[in-house]
């Protein structure tokens, strides 16, 4: 019986993984890989601009929550490089299946920020048409978006279309059964999927080491495909690595896991009080790794940073914040009847009757 020796040799495989070779021991793009990735100064500036806008809008999200205009906000501070780097790495025809915190991805993908926030204003459960921007809804039931992305990717393969799918989650989500089952499906069906884990070290109050046994990137080997841990505070690294993994997927290379490390600098959401469970000092080593400062340093090193750019960017971010607020505050409240309309494409008569009664009782002031 030679089965025992038949192992696919995961370490050999890792060594043979050209994507792994793109990063150094700190998970940062090597100089060679940076050259090969060929991200122009203009493109890098675009990434920076998107990150700066994302950060400003994120802050505005916090403000809006404090002002009572939205019910909840889950800050993305610390995730800018991952979300902007990864979302922009996907081709237009590619798909992204995000999780609730992927606001940065949403705006990079073209979702109107003010519209995105109507979700947290309680006007709806999800304000965009996924097919319009090839961007799924922000899933809240942790980990449960994974099978959607993998299923979609299997569909792309069945359709023989060169489409790659990015599925996103936090590191806490890797503890869920759905995460594992999907990883296994991805491997078994060799689905064209890039599995992105935004490891911000915390799942609400639970730190990484109490959440995850072993290491996330290491788990990919157990599913027969490569996994790579990268510096999630460096937008260029995330962008280049995810782009390479997506290309590989489109070429039929199968799934790839990217674990991007960063830190959740803010509370889990505006409802959270991190002083109960972590020290400010915990964040200290990460402060030096701010995604925006990192990107700025890269631009400066390239000589692609100047005051005019900085100013334009700040202005663009400010404008975006104003627009977001305005769009949000102008968003009309939903007609309650829509709650009935959205459930089924082919609603049962009984539901139509229920709606009619509901609406007429509203109109007669009955239900209120």
């Amino acid at each position: 019986m030679t089965n025992i020796a038949q192992r696919r040799g995961t370490s050999a495989q890792a060594a043979a993984d050209p994507i792994a070779a793109m990063v150094d021991e700190h998970g940062v793009l090597t100089a060679d890989a940076e050259r090969a990735a060929n991200v122009s100064d203009a493109e890098l500036r675009d990434l920076y601009r998107l990150m700066a806008i994302a950060r400003r809008l994120d802050q505005e999200g916090v403000n809006l929550q404090r002002q009572g205009e939205i019910g909840l906000w889950g800050p993305i501070n610390g995730h800018e490089a991952i979300q902007i780097g990864a979302a922009t790495a996907m081709a237009d025809a590619d798909w992204i299946f995000p999780y609730y915190r992927d606001f940065g991805m949403a705006i990079a993908r073209g979702v109107d920020p003010g519209v995105a926030l109507t979700w947290f204003r309680g006007l709806n459960h999800g304000p965009w048409d996924p097919r319009e921007l090839r961007f799924g809804p922000g899933i809240i039931s942790v980990g449960s978006q994974m099978p959607h992305g993998v299923g979609f990717a299997i569909g792309c393969k069945l359709d023989h279309e060169p489409i790659a799918v990015l599925t996103c989650s936090g590191e806490g989500a890797t503890s869920t059964g759905d995460w594992h089952e999907s990883m296994n499906f991805a491997g078994v069906f060799q689905a064209p999927v890039v599995v992105l884990c935004e490891n911000n070290q915390w799942a609400i109050s639970v730190p990484f080491r109490q959440q995850v046994a072993g290491h996330i990137a290491d788990r990919a080997a157990g599913y027969g495909f490569p996994g790579l841990r990268v510096d999630g505070t460096d937008v260029l690294t995330v962008h280049a690595v995810v782009r390479a993994a997506a290309e590989r997927a489109r070429r039929g290379g199968g799934p790839y896991l990217v674990e991007a490390l960063t830190y959740r600098f803010q509370p889990h959401t505006t409802s959270d009080d991190p002083t109960r469970y972590r020290d400010e000092a915990d964040a200290a080593p990460w402060r030096a790794k701010d995604p925006l400062a990192n990107a700025e340093a890269r631009l400066r090193a390239r000589g692609a940073w100047d005051d005019a750019f900085a100013e334009q960017t700040a202005q663009a971010a400010e404008e975006a914040a104003t627009n977001m607020r305005q769009t949000l505050l102008n968003a009309p409240p939903p007609h309650p009847g829509i709650v009935f309309d959205q459930v089924y494409a082919n609603p049962p008569d009984s539901l139509l009757r229920e709606k009619a009664e509901f609406v007429s009782s509203l109109e007669s002031g009955g239900a209120e």
């Binding site: 299946f97 709806n124 459960h125 999800g126 304000p127 965009w128 048409d129 996924p130 097919r131 319009e132 799924g136 809804p137 899933i139 039931s141 449960s144 994974m146 099978p147 959607h148 992305g149 993998v150 299923g151 979609f152 990717a153 299997i154 569909g155 792309c156 069945l158 359709d159 059964g177 759905d178 089952e181 999907s182 296994n184 499906f185 078994v188 829509i338 709650v339 309309d341 959205q342 459930v343 089924y344 494409a345 082919n346 049962p348 008569d349 009984s350 539901l351």
Partner: protein, 326 residues
């Protein structure tokens, strides 16, 4: 288009076959549904005919079997996923209730979910635990799903066809103890619109409301009652969510008495909703309270004693006696 005698299981197989043949976007998948043809052979021959890209085995993971159907539906497929047995749909409960049932709402009404989850259900087959459950209450209570169960080969074909064509998620409950029940059919039958009950046997003295595996029980009871000169009307629900209250109300308005029969425990079973509604809507019409016949409030019992817990014609007739004597 000649008449043939088919079993309920075969009718399901033919419905899947014809759906695969007529719509290239239909996919069939689940555990052991490929070469094996499913543990009940409902998918027999489909992989051989339509190939392993359209009919495929999955790993043993019900949550993700349900979960990929969401992604595949967005990609424009019409997934028909099988859960091997009733209780093995429970690992998929979160995907079904939190995602499948709510995805259209979550996407502002933009993403339809034309997904069918097929589940063989019910007992009486002498099986070990977890293989004989009646999970319909769980799904019927979940807004966003449609829940269907056929009781005859004709309906098996026509309802499964309609379920696959429907743009919304359908939990399709197959009465596994009736897979071998036969009927002469002229196929293909037109799809049977979801949501409509069927008068399985007309009658006038009382209405027996049943679905899936208990329709045969109700018919046997009606047969027995007829011998005693009692005329029972049997209504086969077919759709468990929504309920076809028009048909139910019309029948019970006429008979003024009703019994609901299902295998699930009476407590919080579908009979509760039906009885509550009929007694509410026909409060002044009813001559007796609505009776419910079902299982006791216990986990599904071991095979040796299961028959004592399942509804049978005698228990239905006792209930009929109670309401006729009321």
């Amino acid at each position: 288009m000649t008449a043939t005698t088919v079993t309920l299981g075969k009718a399901l197989n033919l419905a899947l076959h014809d759906a695969l043949a007529s719509d290239p976007r239909v996919l069939v998948y689940g555990e052991d549904i490929g070469k094996l043809g499913g543990v009940f052979r409902i998918t027999d021959g489909l992989q051989a005919e339509f190939g392993p890209e359209r009919v495929f085995d999955t790993p043993l993971a019900e949550s993700t079997i349900a979960g990929i159907s969401v992604g595949l539906a967005i990609k424009g497929f019409r997934p028909v996923a099988e859960m091997q047995f009733d209780a093995f749909s429970y690992p998929a409960f979160n995907q079904i209730t939190s995602n499948l049932a709510k995805y259209r709402t979550k996407t502002g009404g933009t993403c339809n979910m034309p997904v069918v989850i097929r589940i063989p259900y019910g007992g009486g087959i002498g099986a070990v635990e977890h293989h004989s459950e009646s999970p319909e209450s769980y799904y019927a209570h979940t807004a966003g799903l449609k829940v269907v169960s056929p009781a005859t080969p004709a309906d098996a074909y026509a309802l499964l066809t309609a379920a696959i064509q429907d743009p919304d998620p359908v939990i399709f409950l197959e009465p596994k103890a009736r897979y071998y029940q036969r009927q002469e059919l002229t196929l293909p039958l037109p799809p049977e619109p979801l949501g409509r009950a069927r008068i399985a046997r007309p009658g006038s003295d009382a209405t027996i409301i049943a679905y899936g595996p208990t329709v045969a029980v109700a018919l046997a009871a009606a047969e027995g009652a007829a011998r005693e000169g009692i005329s029972l009307e049997v209504v086969d629900l077919r759709s468990l969510s929504p309920l076809d209250m028009d048909t139910l109300t019309a029948s019970v308005r006429k008979t003024r008495r009703a019994v609901v029969v299902h295998e699930a425990p009476v407590f919080m079973g579908l009979g509760a909703e039906i009885a509550a509604r009929l007694m509410h809507d026909l409060f002044d019409v009813l001559a007796a309270p609505i009776e419910r016949v079902g299982s006791a409030t216990v986990p599904y019992p071991p095979a040796r004693v299961e028959k004592l817990f399942l509804p049978d014609a005698d228990r239905v007739l006792e209930a009929v006696d109670r309401i006729r004597e009321y």
